[in-house]
Structures are given as structure tokens and as C-alpha cells.
Symmetry: C2
Subunit: 977 residues, 2 copies
């Protein structure tokens, strides 16, 4: 059965594999290759040959940041070719040279434009754009030139780094030890390569919550968060075509800790900001250090207005010559809500006044036309409510909407709002220290989720500024780059393009040979971490009893780790450090934590069942706990010779509230003392009990001929001596298969030979016999009649249990160009569905809407519950919920609203709102349930209709009795053939 | 402050101690001593002298059971004196002899009565009565006789055993290895000692749920539950003046397993019955073995009436010559509810028909006047609902009400019901295998609870039959005897008499020297087990954070164990086995389980706080788990040379639903890996957090000058190296005291020097300084002003936190002879209060009612919640709840009903009723909460008024904000002086 056009992706991957040696390896900036393979075509520019390297020519009038970047290019060329080109502001005697410059700052570039030899149509007046092109005889004495021309300072710099990256220097060459790709010579393919303008004007990261990792690491390696450290960050950002930074601020003050910090940021070309709650380019730490110099030292605009205004004015004055975006507004001290000024209206009015006063300072110190100075106001946490209450933000100030701290956008601009000149931006999280829970340890951010949400931001016009909270920066290399690349051009990283992006990333950093495998490993480990962040996985998270859930999760993790370890073993030694930190460590460390918790859950179950193997499982939990520590130790002390010591210091096991655990705490495990003698126990799938002690019958879950599956009976020892027993099925249509798996004692798989089983409802028996007598295990079976088979053909069918359907199994309909489209690799499923265009207007039944139709067969009439498993979407469109409609057959559609029961539930509120918020956040999924009465058994059609765009449908469950507990619900059923 | 006249008890105990060598040691039957001390007074009968022993003379016409008991007396005399008297049916040549006989069966006794030498006024026509008396010259040739005369067979036997017990042979001499009290001679004090009639006609035990312990023990020692075993039980019952037995029936059939069983029961004098769900003297096992011989083999009266009637008739025929009480009615097979016959009315009618048919069998096979044959019908579990629905029970059939399986009576007869000739009985539990939870391991039954409940049964007239489920019999020696002694004469074991009973029991079995100490140890261990049964204590049961709760519980248990161990070490070797099984083992084994769980709770807390000591606490949990096993092993294998092997086989750790755990499971424990270096953590009372990591302030609970107490700050290491810190209070009125206790790292006790503290609300600071900087701990303090002290004088007062008041602190009022009386040692408190007489009519406000008045002082106005901590009473009076009234000052009383919110909540029902039922059952307490608005701060009076009798008030809590979690709530406050 084909339930996802992800097959296309697989085919592409496979094609990629076949074309290993012919494909280009462009950067993740330009989508085309500009560096020639071994045999350069005619007209290719000889950047480096076996005997020569073209000099790098620049204009002394160009920006120091451009000149500095040319130095990086020089170093990169040497890294790749072992030959170092000359850099010179003077034209050399070479007839083939590289000309690098910024329009208006480079006489040579301006001359080339004036002479018509350089087409500046996509440079002039453009933002951060570059062109890389070869020009024959650009000027006297030059036969051929490679020209890198920028529309502005960063445009030129991005062009320089584009060349570096295409030559084989990863943006992560230093930050993740990606080895440069060695080559003896480098020819640039003839042609003209233009970057175009970025879609999002300001693209940046926020180094946040920098203790313990970043603080301890920078202390050891740089002696603090000084310019030696920050220039490493600036360079990385520029190589990723970013331009914006909120510096670390927990215990640090960027502008004070090292006066070179802001100076070098400006020189490198990085626009500085301060975090959402630090107005006017002054860090919270600065206030702490200097508040006694400002009025009554209170961070309270009502009681200390004069002091605060002076504090802010001093900040503006200090940094006014640098490129900044000024944060306006005010929250409480220390990233907390502001003290109450007398209710919502009073607070709103106060914030309006504060902003007006702040703008007066900017106007006085920086530019009388305050509108020319970039400013922003961030709607983090409780601040959004003032905006929702109508707070007036000056039109030119950028309004920054925030996500829910776990990557789901809380608010997007309406068409009316989009008209404001300051535009909108997004403050996003891929790391969090705060509610609903901290996740600061490892990368838990699947690309499909970032893409799906940030594509909404793009389509809804929140494109002035994107900034992402990256914690300690490492180990979030993958989502940082993805987010920043997407900010440059969101349309290039939409749902269908993620897979090829990941493969291109793997190719760039590890070469073609294993790219598909590496891409798949990182897709999988992030997907699995997206099921539930490892910090939140507990012994009880995945069901030990139902659907083989914990076994399946464990097996999935083990497989991805095995593949990563296998690759690690065969990779060239110089790639291993990079592979370890980008691929193997996050996969294995995440797997270790999840598996440890699953084993701890198994330990608690086995203890209840009295299995002697309880103790062996406890030992395995302890071993995995030690393994976690060993992985941390390797990362900190051995990896790259200890270069990254402390960056894996984050505790991550035993989180019990929003905070990270104080130290790593092993999940609690039980022990048993074996009984004397030979004592056996028997347990069955779905039941915690142990027989013969348990009072009540041993009954396997129902076998349904429409949903063939296997079940199991476990036999185990509870005593110190070997047990003696026989096990047998009493009906010939029950198949028993003995299997020994570690920790599971003696398992017998039970299957039904459907050809032999009687039609209708029957109960078979498996008997376990010991000296204590026979124990009967009931095997309830339902086999469809020929009539039922006929009626169920081509449908999802059940004779008793639930039906679970992959969303993509639908017959889809479109209305007026609005349709359900596939999101490959999204969430819990291989492929999910969502409405496109994402800005489509809501439609309420009976208006015609795009539908998903599922043919089902139910052997009984009555009430059925339908559960939709959805994305953890927020109600980002104001004044309406987030709705979808469900119906059976021709019954009227039930319109369900994810926010119906808590329409006012404020973000991070206490009480029920908070509980719902936390549940969806932990599950990284939302659920919608509806009840439908079917008056007759037989064939039916389940119809799901769009109401609002934004909802992603992953899976549908239909059931008529309570489902056994599990995290994912029943596995997807198959169509009856 | 005197809050309990338990002081009286203490004084009595102390007096007992002083009079060690002068006090008598009567049996627990007769309350007076009949055996003379060393120097016999004139006229004392020389039973045994250093040279001679009086022969035992009986009539050959007497009952064989009497003759057999005389043999026991002979052996007992030898056990005590090492001299064996002659037994003879012929008058010997001795001039001083013992005459034993039953009125009507002993010619000698009858002659003594006829001659006027024996007063038979309390024998003739009496039930089970005896007289022990000395008679001078009773007949020719006899100078002096000791006469034991019985009104009937058991009367004589009880008289015989009374003498044995008074001579120094405990009823438990075999069953608990209590050594006979050696003496060289025995003189019987002159006088006449009459037993009187028992209040309860049938007094018995039910050997139930006999696997694994009783089954395995009897298999090893007796080769099964045969007459060799049962005669041991019969003898014990007779020595305890019991007369009734329901035999073990899990895998056993009393009448079939050994045909001598019923024969010897009758001969010994034991009336046999069958358990509540085994009608017509046929065991469930017999049906299992023989059902194929009876109709369609279905245990279903609708489908197999003829078969069942024949099955029952065969049982009646078999046992008709023995003394029996026949169980009527029918439940489902295997102690389950009967299959539904078509709703409540249909089921009720069916049961009526079944009983009529059963009585027809009795009438046909046994006695045409069926009313002369004792019959009963038990309202166990769901059966009560048929009775409540009006099912007609023949007037002569005894109706047996049941408790809630944990010792709380569910129903008692009304005045109208009491008129029926068959009367009422009680089926009680001190051991349970079933809902709400199993408790089969150890004695968890405090005497005051049994006394309080069975006194209700007595006063409400349910006195025809008392039977108690005793599981495997051992180790429930204490409550078995208490229950049976109380059945003989409930008025002798009322609330005020329990303490002296316990001391007399200890004197009888262990002598005077340590009786008070032993009595106190068994009172304490059962009281503590009454707080919560050890099987139900979990790591989270007792608060690790608040009120030092877990520490206090642990200390209480440790103290009682230490005292028991100290005694064990100094007791004479021959007493040690008895002391071990009756005192030391139950105390220490219970303590071990509770302490293990508390330590496991501490482990989980310490893990969350990151303490390195987490691992040491985990090791302690493991050690206690091993200790539990070692105690079991000693009991089974070493105690009394292995005599009781298997009787301690019951699993008891890790119960997670109603069933006992399959095997003992150690509470799960966590581990931590210490951090590198010297890392410290700080925690404070009431907060799970660990600083400096935790985001938020460290704040101690409020110090209130009206309720002086201490609090604490813990400093501990989280790393591998020693920590260096200083700690200091910043205010002179904060007192810091360093203390090192095991597992608690470095604790600093914090107290307030109230003389120096400022009046009003203030916040002091304790600073913990390390190389990571200072950590401030807030010390919030409220000190009463002189005005407040004046207003609060003589009251329970609070400046902020809750007030907890011992119920007994009340000023009590009585109305029309109805009053609040003290229940010493009841429940969670030293002394509780309840309404007497317990049959008083309910009074509803504004009718005048007995009140409890508590003077309080509250420093603020507003809403206050009052929580009454009560006994786990059931609504045993039909058609009303269980009510009490609460008010402040002159406000109208709020009438609160324990059953208001679940009036129909059936016993053991599913859903909310079940939850409530389980919670009260686990807590062994109920709570009633009410809210009261006080419009002004200052002095108030809390008034609690009786509505219905039956409620026991233990403690009152007044609070105006949520209480921190704990099991017991805040400790009792003191009056302001």
C-alpha cells in the first residue's frame, strides 16, 4: 500500500546514491555548483592550479569587514589547496585574478559596472546581495577575472564565504571540526551567479541560558565571553549569511565585558541587539552592576523613571556608532513579568509611555528621524496580552511575535496588520530554559517542524526579522543552519525540499559517499527526539504492555545508533570528530536516555510480575546510565582533543519540573529477591498481571482477521531454580513460536492461522502446564465471514478493536485551489497532511471545503469516537480558534476547535490552561476527539474537512471502547485487500 | 497541658509496675485470681503440693469432649508443676480431689446441687457457663474438693481451661510457644468463681485465604489440613472460650479432606459452619470436585436447581449429627457475585426462593421444626444490597452483617429489626484477601479500633454470632484473642479497659516484670500499623518535606523496635520464641517495611536535589530490603526450631493493586553520579528544590511566635570533592545549630530567639557562602504584639499558618446524658472523642447537642477551612448518613455528612465511590471539610456539635490557605500561655 509520496523522496535519495560521483556539491547558499570538478571546462577561472594561485584584489576603501573576510578566503583557499593566494589592494601583475568589492566602496567594481562588464541589476540598491561571476578582460592587463561583487558590506562578505563554502570549507569547519575538502586545484565555472536578496531582512541567533556549558567552555578556552570568542560567532553567522545577534546575558554584559565586542561586531558586519527584555541596548547585567548610579536603583518605571531614562540614554550614546536594532518596551527585572501598575489598561498605557520616552532618547542621541533607526518590541510570554489588548506600537517599530518556546508560533500578523512599515518578526526557540519545560541538552528539532512553522511566518508576512534562541550554540549546529538558511529564502526549504537539503548538508560536510545514509540518520534521530524530548521521556512514557510500543521505540533507536556506529567505524579518521558531534553523539546519547527510561519502565513492570529478570533489567538501566556519562565524558574530554570541554555539561536525566535536573538522576529501579525453588510466572500482552498468582483470567487481546497481528505469552522464572513447564495451543489454528530475547525471559509469539480458524467469534486456549497444574490463557478470535470480507474490501476494517489510519491514506479533494498537501517525514508519521495555501481563508460547513475521505468497515453499529492526531499548533490567527470538521457518510459535519474549551487559556497560564499547554507541549501533538453515532454496521466513509489552515493531520483513530494506554495509540491498520 | 485522661492509664501502668510482686495474674477470662501465691491462705485447696497432686474425678456419662479437656488439664498441671495428677471416673481414696462435670451428665455434680452444696443458680439453663468453687466435705470421705461444674459441655470445658490458664498455661502455649509458668505447688483460693453466660452466643474464627502460609505450613507439619491440624485449632478456640469455626476453603474441603475433621470438631465442642458463600455445610471445593455428579454441573440455581438441591441435601445428611450452623443463600462460584438473574428484584426473589428450598431440605433431613436449627445468611459485599432492597429473611435465620473488610461495620440492626428471633451477627476482618486491598502479612489491628467498632455491634444488638476472618491464624494471635474475649463480654473490653487488658495479657504470657513495657510495645506497633498498613506505605506516603513527618514516623518506629530488641536481649531464653513472634517480629518487620519506604522516598528526594548521599540512602533501602528477608527467614527457619516454617511466607512489599504482590519488590531507588569537583547544594524545609541551581528564592516556612518550632537548612555535596562554605545568620535573633545526622548531610536547625525578634512581620536571612558566591535563605518571621498576646492567651493561635488542635483539648458539654467521651490511644492521636451512648438518637441543629468548644485566635479575618480528622466510620444506620456540625462563635452550625456526596456509593463500587472508599480505607481515617467566614480577626470559638453518634473526632485543622502536602497534617498546636 502506498500511503505517502515520500516514496518520491526515497527514489530521489536512491538516485542520489547512484550519482555519487557525478553530482555537484553546491553550498547550502547557492543551489548551483560553481567550482569545477577535476577536469575544468573551457573558460573556467583558474583560482588555484598545481602551480599557481590567483591573487585576491580589493579596494582599500572597502569595508574593513570585507577586507577581513578576504583574509578568511585566503585561509580557506590554503585549507583546501595548501596554497595561499596573495591578498593585495593593488592590481598585481597576474593576468588572472580575483576582484572583490562592494558597490560604492570599490573603484574597480564601480568601474566594471560603469563599463558594462558587470551587470549590477541585482546589486544596485539591493540588500545584502552578491554576484560571483567570471569576466574576460575586465581591464587592461587582465585576461580573466573572478569577480565577487556585493551590493553592500554583507553582500560582499556573503559572496566571499559562498566561494569558501563551494571550495570545500564548511561554515562549521571550526565550530564542528568539519575537515576542509582537499583538492589540488580549483577552477571556477564560467557564468554569473547571483544571490538575490534575502527574504528576511534580519536573521540571527540568541545565545541564551549560557550556564553551565557555554560559560565554562568559554572560560576555559577564551577566558570569558570576550571578543576572542565572539569573533568566532560573528564569522560563523556570516558564513551562514546571518547578520544579527542577541549576545549571552545571564551573567554577561556584551558591551562591557570586552569593549572590543561591539566594535568588532560592527566591523565584522553583525547587527547587535539585546534580548527581548533588555531595552535600549543595555543588558540586564549592566543594570545589576550600575543600578545604584541611576536614581533609586529600582527597575520600575513608576518609581524610577528618571534613573531608567538616563540608564538607557547612556546605552544609546555608547553604541550609537554601531549597527544596532534597539529593543523597546520593558519587562520586569530578570526575564520576569513587569510589576503590576494597576491592571491591564494601566500596564498597557505605561508600556506605551515607556516606548515613547525611549524613542525620544533615540531621536535625541542617534537620529532626529527616529523612524530611520531599527527598533523592535518583542511579544514574549505575558507581553503578548498587552498587544492583544490594543497597545499602540509605533508604525515603524518591528513587532516580534514569539513561539510557545517549543517551536509553535503563537501569533502571526493579519492582512490588516501587515501594512505597518516596521513589519513583523519571529522570536523562535530550538532550546529553552523556562516554561513549559527546559530542553538545553541536545538537538531535538526536526527540520519538518521548523519548516512547517516558519513557512507560516513567511506566508503570513512576518519576515522583517527572525531570531532563534540557540542556547549554548552547540550542539544545535543543524537547526541553527536550517533556520538561518530558511530565513534567507523560506521558499527554498519548504516541506518537499527538506529531504534534499539534508542530503546536500551531509554531502557538503561529509562528501557524497555516505551522504544519503547520514542524512537519514540525522532525520531519524531528530524525528525520534521530536516524538518526545529525551528530557521528558520517563519510564512510563512508552507502553510496556500495549502495541509492543516500548519495544518498537527501543528498536527504532537501536537501529539508528547501529547505523551511525557502523559509519563512524569506516569514515576517514579526519571526519570522525565532525561525524561524532553532528551525527553519532546526538543519536546515541538521545537513544541512551530513551532506552534507559524504557528499560526502567520494563524493570518496574517485571518487578510487579515477580520476574527474576527484574534484576538484570535494573543492571541494564545502571549500565545505560553509565553509558550516558561516558558519552558526555568523551564529548567533553576526548572529542577533538578536548576542544569542546564543558559543552556537554548540561544535566538531562531526571527532569521533574520545568527546570533541568540539578544533576543527572538515574530512573529509579526496583529489585526482587528470587523465591526459593522452581517457581514460574506467566504474563500476557496487555496485562500487568502475573499468573497463576493473579486472581482473574489470562486473556490475550482480541485477534481480528481484518487486522492480522501477533501477540505473546511470556513464561519466566520467579525462583532460584530452573522451571519446568510445557506450553501448547489447544486449537490447531493457534500458532505458537518460541523466541528468546534478552530480558524478556521466554516469549511465545502467538499468531492465528486464519485459513484454519473458524468464522465468527471464538475463544482458543493456550495451556501452560507445570507441577502446580495447568494455566489457561484465553485466545479470543474474530474471523470475518465471506460476506464481511466482501463488504470490507478496500476499506479499513475492524471486527472489534480500534482502527488507526495514516492521514495520507485519504482520497483528497481540493476546492478553489485550496488542497490537502503532503508533509513528508512530519511528526509521528512517515507523512502528514496540511492545507495549502496556508493563508487560505477559513471555511465553515456547509461551505464546500477540501476533504479527506477514508473508507472504513465497522462490524457493529453504535457510538464511535474519532481521534485526530494533529500537530501542536497554536491559535496564531487572532479572534478565532483552530478548527477542523469531522463526519461519517452524509451526517452533518462536527466542527471541532482545538481551542474551544480554553479559548482564553493564556500561554503558560496556571491551572487547566497550563495543563493542556504542557500536555500538548510534552507530546508535541494535539488531539481532537468527536463522537459519532452509526445506526448500522458495515461500510462507512469518514470525512475530514478543512475549516482553518494551520492544522497538520497525522493519524486518525476510530474506536468504540476505551483504548489501552499508550503514547502513540494503535499502529496504523492496513486496507482489506 | 492535659489533653487526655490517658494519664490515668499511665498511672495505672506505673502502679502495676510497683506492684509487680503482689499483683495477681488472672486469666483473660475470669478477672480475678483463683490460684494462690506462694503462701496459700487458710482453706485454700491443695491442687498440687510438693508431695502430692489431687486426682481429677469425672463421670463416665459426661461428654467425651469434657473428658478430653480433663486430659489437657492433667497435662497442663504437669507442664506447670512437673507433677501429673491421676484422672479417674472413680472416686479415689484421696480426701482432697477435683470434681469436674456437666449438669445433667455428671451424677456427682447433680448430687452436689441436689444436696445444696453447689449453688447452680448461674448454671441451670445457662449457655456455656461454669462455676469453679471449693467445697468442704462435699461427700463422704472427701475433706475438700475443687469443683468445676459446667452448665453444658462447653461450660465445663471453659471451666477446665480457666483453671489451666490461671495455673500458668497460656491458651497460646502451643500456638505461640508461651512457656508454662513453673511452680512447685498450686493452691486454689477458697471461694466461688462463676463465668456467667457469654454475651455473644457463637464466637468464632474463619481460617481464610490460606495460601501460601497455612497451606505450606500444614503440608510440612501435618501433611495437610487434617484432624491433626484442626484439633490444634479446636483446642485453641476452646481455651479462648470460642465455639465456632469456618474452616479453610481455598483448596480444602473440611468434611472430605479428613472424615475425622467434623467428627472431632463435634467431639471437642466446636460448632462448624461454612464461609458466607458456601451454603448448606458444603465447601466450594466439594462442588468443584463433585459437580459432575449433580445435574448439569453449573453453579446456577436457574439452570441447575435440581442438582444443587441434591448437592446440598447430601451435605445436610452427612453432617446432620454434628453441631452446625447452616449457611443459607447463594453467591456466585468462587466468592464472586451471583450471575445476574434479571435485575435487582429478580435476584432478590431468586435468593428468597433458594433459602426457602434450602430450609425445606433442613426440615426434611434434620429437624421438622426448621426454626430449631441454627442458620445464618451473610451480607458480604454485594449481598447486602438485596437485604437493603427488602429481601425477606425468615425470622429465625441469623442475619450476618459484614464490615468493610478493614474492620469498619457497614450496617447494624435498627431497633425494629432487632425484634427478629434469629438475631444478628457480625462477620469481621483482621486479615483480608480482596478489596479494597489485601492485608495478609502481619497484625495491623489496634485493639482500640476493634473495641470501638465491636462495641457498636454490642450496643446495637448484633450479638448472636461474631466471626472474624483471621487468614492463616498466625501471626494474628493478639487480635484473635481480643476479638474472642470481647465476644464473651463486650462491656469488659470497652475503650477504658483496653490498656489494662493489654497489660494483663502481657503479664499472663510473659510475667509481671516487663508486662507494662511489652503492653506498650504491642500497643504502639499496632497503633503505627493502624496509621497505614505496611503493605500500603509507599515512598511518597509520609512527607519528606513538611512537618518532619517522615523523620517523626521513622523515629517512632525505631524507638519501638529498640525497646523490643532491648527486652529480647534480657528475657529468659525460654520466653524468647514467644516474645519474638508476639512482640519483636511484628514490631521490627513492620518497622523495616515502613522505614524502607521512607528511605526510598528520601532517596527520590535527595536524587532530585542532587545530593551525593542519594546513593548511600539507596544502599540503606537495599539493606532494609535484605533485613526484611532475614526477618522472614528467621521466623520460618530458626524460630522455635523451624516449627512455624512457611507461616511468614506472605509477600508484602510492592503491593500495587488490591492483590498482594507476586513477590516482594524493593521500592525503586535512584542513583546519581557525583559531579566533578567541589559542588555544594542547599535545600530548605518544605521545598524540593536545590540551590543555587534552582531559579527562585530559598524561603523557610513562616516562623510564628504563637507556635514556636524549629526549621532547617541542609547543606550537602553534589560533587566528588569536599565542599567549603560558611553559613551564618544575619540577624542576632536567628539561632543556627549544626547537627550531623546520617543520610541528611549537614543540617542546620533554625530557631528564633523570640525575645530578641522584632514585633510584627519581618524577614531575616541566613547566608551560605561559597566560592560561587553567597546564597540567601529568607527567614520569614511573625512575632505577636503585646496586644495580640493578651488577646490570644489561653487560645490556639496563629499569625499566619494553620492551627491544628487535638480533639481532646475541647471544653465539652453533655445534653440529656449524651456526651463526648474519651477513646484512649485511638487512631492517630493519644486520645480521641466520640459520643456515648453510641445508640443515642441523632440531633439536628438547632436542637441542643453535646458540643466541643475550642478557643482560637486568628490574626486575620476572611475565609477559613476547618478539617475534621475522623475515624473511617461507615454509615451503619440505614437511611441516614453520618453527620456532625461545625460553627464558629454564634454562626449557624454547618451540618456535614460524611456520605453526603456519595450517598449511594455502594461498598466496593467502581468509580468515584470506590476511590473515596479506597482513600479512607488506606488512610484508616475520614475527613470532613467546611469553610467559614470570619469578619474580624482576633478571638473566636470553634464549636463542633454532635449530630449522629458513631463519629470519632481525632484532630481539627484550621487553615486559610492550602496546606503543604503531608499524611497527618500539621502537628497539634499548643495553647498560648
Amino acid at each position: 500500500m502506498k500511503n505517502c509520496s515520500c516514496l518520491k523522496t526515497l527514489i530521489l535519495l536512491f538516485a542520489g546514491f547512484l550519482s555519487l560521483f557525478v553530482r555537484a556539491e553546491p553550498s547550502l547558499g547557492l543551489p548551483v555548483e560553481i567550482v569545477a570538478k577535476a577536469t575544468p571546462p573551457a573558460g573556467a577561472f583558474p583560482l588555484v592550479t598545481t602551480t599557481h594561485q590567483a591573487p585576491l584584489w580589493y579596494d582599500t576603501n572597502d569595508f574593513p569587514g570585507v577586507v577581513r573576510a578576504i583574509g578568511d578566503l585566503q585561509a580557506d583557499i590554503e585549507r583546501v589547496t595548501s596554497r595561499k593566494p596573495v591578498i593585495s589592494p593593488k592590481q598585481s601583475s597576474d593576468t588572472e585574478l580575483v576582484i572583490i568589492g562592494t558597490i560604492g566602496n570599490s573603484a574597480t567594481i564601480d568601474a566594471l559596472i560603469a563599463s558594462g562588464k558587470l551587470d549590477a541589476s541585482d546589486l544596485k540598491g539591493k540588500w545584502e546581495s552578491f554576484v560571483i561571476t567570471t569576466i574576460a578582460q575586465p581591464m587592461a592587463g587582465v585576461k580573466n577575472a573572478l569577480v565577487i561583487a556585493g551590493s553592500d558590506k554583507r553582500g560582499t562578505i556573503y559572496g566571499i564565504y559562498e566561494l569558501s563554502e563551494q571550495l570545500g570549507v564548511s561554515p562549521w569547519y571550526w565550530w564542528a571540526d568539519v575537515p576542509p575538502k582537499k583538492r589540488a586545484q580549483a577552477y571556477i565555472l564560467p557564468g554569473r551567479y547571483a544571490s538575490g536578496e534575502p527574504v528576511v531582512r534580519y536573521r540571527g541567533i540568541f545565545l541564551n541560558d549560557e550556564r553551565p556549558c557555554l560559560t565554562e567552555w568559554t572560560k576555559e578556552k577564551f577566558d570569558g565571553l570576550n571578543s576572542k570568542f565572539y569573533t568566532k560567532v560573528f564569522e560563523l553567522l556570516l558564513r551562514l549569511r546571518a547578520n544579527y545577534l542577541w549576545p549571552a546575558m545571564w551573567d554577561n554584559a556584551f558591551n562591557e565585558d570586552d569593549p572590543l565586542n561591539p566594535k568588532l561586531a560592527d566591523e565584522y558586519g553583525i547587527v547587535m541587539g539585546t534580548s527581548h527584555h533588555e531595552p535600549m541596548d543595555r543588558s540586564q547585567q549592566e543594570w545589576g552592576r550600575h543600578k545604584k548610579e541611576y536614581g533609586n536603583a529600582e527597575w520600575n518605571y513608576v518609581s524610577n523613571k528618571e534613573g531608567l531614562l538616563r540608564f538607557w540614554a547612556d546605552g544609546i550614546e555608547r553604541n550609537k556608532s554601531y549597527e544596532n536594532i534597539f529593543t523597546l518596551g520593558m519587562r520586569g527585572d530578570g526575564d520576569l513579568a513587569m510589576p503590576d501598575a494597576g491592571g491591564l489598561v494601566a500596564n498597557k498605557n505605561l508600556i506605551e509611555q515607556i516606548m515613547a520616552d525611549q524613542r525620544a532618547i533615540i531621536s535625541g542621541h542617534l537620529d532626529p528621524d527616529v523612524k530611520k533607526v531599527p527598533q523592535l518590541w518583542t511579544l514574549f510570554s505575558e507581553v503578548q496580552k498587552y498587544y492583544d489588548a490594543g497597545l499602540h506600537v509605533p508604525d515603524d517599530v518591528t513587532v516580534l511575535f514569539a513561539d510557545d518556546n517549543i517551536g509553535d508560533l503563537r501569533r502571526l500578523p493579519t492582512a490588516e496588520e501587515r501594512k505597518r512599515s516596521g513589519g513583523f518578526g519571529i522570536y523562535y526557540h530550538i532550546d529553552m530554559h523556562g516554561g513549559p519545560f527546559a530542553y538545553q541538552w541536545i538537538n531535538t528539532n526536526p527540520f519538518p517542524k521548523i519548516s512547517e512553522q516558519m513557512y507560516l511566518a513567511y506566508e503570513y508576512g512576518a519576515t522583517r526579522l527572525w531570531i532563534v534562541n540557540v542556547g549554548d550554540l552547540k550542539p544545535l549546529e543543524l537547526p541553527i543552519e536550517f533556520f538561518l538558511r530558511m530565513a534567507w529564502n523560506p521558499a527554498a526549504l519548504t516541506k518537499d525540499k527538506i529531504s534534499s537539503y539534508t542530503r546536500r548538508w551531509a554531502e557538503r560536510d561529509f562528501g557524497s559517499e555516505h551522504a544519503a545514509e547520514i542524512a537519514d540518520i540525522v532525520s531519524k534521530y531528530t524525528k525520534y527526539n521530536g516524538w518526545r524530548k529525551p528530557e521528558l521521556v520517563k519510564p512510563e512514557t512508552f507502553s510496556q504492555l500495549n502495541y509492543d510500543e516500548s519495544d518498537r521505540v527501543e528498536a527504532a533507536w537501536r537501529e539508528v545508533v547501529e547505523r551511525a556506529e557502523k559509519l563512524y567505524a569506516i569514515l576517514p579518521p579526519e571526519q570522525r570528530d565532525a561525524f561524532y558531534q553532528l551525527v553519532l553523539h546526538p543519536a546515541k546519547a538521545s537513544a541512551t536516555v530513551v532506552e534507559m527510561n524504557i528499560e526502567a519502565g520494563r524493570n518496574l513492570l517485571f518487578a510487579k510480575q515477580g520476574r527474576v529478570s527484574t534484576n538484570a533489567v535494573a543492571a541494564r538501566v545502571r549500565a545505560l546510565f553509565r553509558q550516558d556519562r561516558e558519552l558526555t565524558n568523551y564529548y567533553n574530554h576526548k572529542l577533538a582533543g578536548g576542544k569542546w570541554n564543558h559543552l556537554m555539561d548540561q544535566s538531562h536525566i531526571g527532569q521533574y519540573n520545568w527546570e533541568p535536573p540539578v544533576v543527572d538522576v538515574m530512573p529509579a529501579v526496583s529489585e526482587v529477591i528470587p523465591l526459593a525453588g522452581a517457581v514460574h510466572g506467566v504474563s500476557v500482552e496487555g496485562d500487568i498481571s502475573s499468573w497463576p498468582e493473579h486472581y482473574g483470567d489470562a486473556i490475550l487481546p482480541l485477534f481480528d482477521s481484518f487486522q492480522p497481528r501477533r501477540s505473546y505469552v511470556d513464561v519466566y522464572t520467579m525462583g532460584m531454580e530452573p522451571i519446568n513447564y510445557t506450553i501448547a495451543a489447544e486449537q490447531p489454528w493457534i500458532l505458537l513460536t518460541k523466541e528468546t530475547t534478552p530480558h524478556k525471559d521466554q516469549r511465545y509469539w502467538v499468531e492465528i492461522n486464519w485459513a484454519k480458524a473458524p468464522v465468527g467469534t471464538s475463544t482458543g486456549t493456550i495451556t501452560v502446564s507445570t507441577y502446580r497444574g495447568p494455566l489457561k490463557v484465553d485466545v479470543p478470535v474474530r474471523k470475518a465471514s465471506a460476506e464481511q470480507i466482501l463488504a470490507a474490501k478496500g476499506r479499513f476494517a475492524s471486527l472489534g478493536g480500534p482502527i488507526a489510519i495514516a492521514a495520507t491514506a485519504a482520497k483528497r479533494s481540493a476546492v478553489n485551489g485550496v488542497s490537502w498537501e503532503e508533509l513528508p517525514d512530519y511528526g509521528r508519521v512517515p507523512c502528514a497532511l496540511a492545507i495549502y495555501p496556508v493563508t487560505a481563508a477559513g471555511v465553515l460547513p456547509p461551505e464546500p471545503a477540501p476533504t479527506l475521505k477514508y473508507p472504513v468497515y465497522l462490524s457493529r453499529a453504535g457510538n464511535f469516537e474519532v481521534t485526530l492526531v494533529l500537530n501542536p499548533v497554536m491559535n496564531f490567527v487572532p479572534d478565532r480558534g483552530m478548527r477542523i470538521a469531522v463526519a461519517f457518510d452524509d451526517q452533518p459535519s462536527q466542527v471541532l476547535d482545538l481551542f474551544a474549551e480554553h479559548p482564553k487559556a493564556p500561554f503558560l497560564a496556571r491551572g487547566i490552561g497550563m495543563q493542556i499547554m504542557r500536555d500538548y507541549a510534552r507530546d508535541n501533538a494535539r488531539y481532537l476527539r468527536s463522537t459519532h453515532n452509526l445506526s448500522s454496521p458495515g461500510a462507512h466513509e469518514l470525512v475530514i474537512s478543512m475549516v482553518d489552515p494551520g492544522i497538520v493531520v497525522q493519524k486518525i483513530i476510530i474506536n468504540d471502547r476505551p483504548l489501552p494506554e499508550s503514547y502513540f495509540g494503535p499502529p496504523e491498520s492496513k486496507l482489506v485487500e
